[in-house]
Symmetry: C2
Subunit: 83 residues, 2 copies
Amino acid sequence: MPRIVVDVMPKPEILDPQGKAIVGALPRLGFTSFSSVRQGKRFELTVDGEVTEEILAQARDAAETLLSNPVIEDVINVEVVEA
Amino acid sequence: MPRIVVDVMPKPEILDPQGKAIVGALPRLGFTSFSSVRQGKRFELTVDGEVTEEILAQARDAAETLLSNPVIEDVINVEVVEA
């Protein structure tokens, strides 16, 4: 069944404490090549049947209203993935 | 600067309470086209300079050891994105 993938990331100007914690932990584990880390969310919405333009528009709308907080987060990607 | 994107999702057999909460909330907001939702994580690791094979291998290793919990999560994607 097709899925719609929605990617949400904290806005660049917003502090991301989880990302900061990870970037602090990486060198302690021997991973020294990364200068910054941001943590966001990935949602997979399963659709019964075909993904129409209307369903994709619903997914974009849901991404902006339910899956992300537009004050602190950006929806950076909404795309269809065939299972 | 290039970034490495790491996508982590709960394993299919693992209960995902956040996804369940979202799939329950969607119809109340008028979004009726989605039969299930899974919520995972997306990480963006910024690399200073070029992404070599060695740095990509470090990212894959970090994804399995620090960015995901292999008991309940799968690393489903590690890819380079040019900024």
